[in-house]
Symmetry: C2
Subunit: 142 residues, 2 copies
Amino acid sequence: MQFNALVNGHTVIMDAPERVGGEDHGPIPKPFVLTALSGCTGMDVVALLRKQGIQLRDLNLKVSGEISKQTPIEYVSAHIIYEMSGEPEHEQAAKEAVMNSQEKICGVSHMLKKIMPVTWQIVYNGNEVFNNEPQAMALQRA
Amino acid sequence: MQFNALVNGHTVIMDAPERVGGEDHGPIPKPFVLTALSGCTGMDVVALLRKQGIQLRDLNLKVSGEISKQTPIEYVSAHIIYEMSGEPEHEQAAKEAVMNSQEKICGVSHMLKKIMPVTWQIVYNGNEVFNNEPQAMALQRA
């Protein structure tokens, strides 16, 4: 079940878990959709802040996707938590970079939003400064 | 610009090329959408054939995506070439496995088809046995 994917010059291994006949040598394929989403928006944020001479101390993205109950198993919603830490005076710029990526630049997010709700939450130095996830969905995800 | 993504227990590195401020330590994020697509349908095919006791000699998937001309840069179509080799009597089963994956099982393909044309082509022992890509698109991709 192992597939070695060549992705712009780099090899990425995918495999299935043992219970479905694989050997777990790599991630299963479907979550790569969310990996693409996190990488796309994460790099946007770094690049946008870099243009302003701002470097965060830390940027950690957690992406979760809700999957459908029937076959074909597909994502029906996605939520991204941006955990950022840096100088207090850079909070506004950091928040704006995320909003810019989500609303204008990130192609993966733009694609996925055509087929499912994509929501996000910004935590800066431990404080939530933005969250557009409807409460009902947050409860479901918890 | 490097991001280390933890994807169901496995670390996957993403990076940007040098011309946009990265160090090219891993693939850029967006093509992971196509990686997910290839892995999803590739594993379907292997699993479906395995259930019938059939093992191919070789299965190679080539996925290409056409991107939009404006920001946000997103995929606007995708095409998959399944290059398979195996016993001549397994050709029909191999073709059916691909059709089953594409039309019923593969969640990533099902998601993407909601927003763009996803077409595919089956080459078995060097002979094209299926292709649903419109000729105009094939010419554009060539």
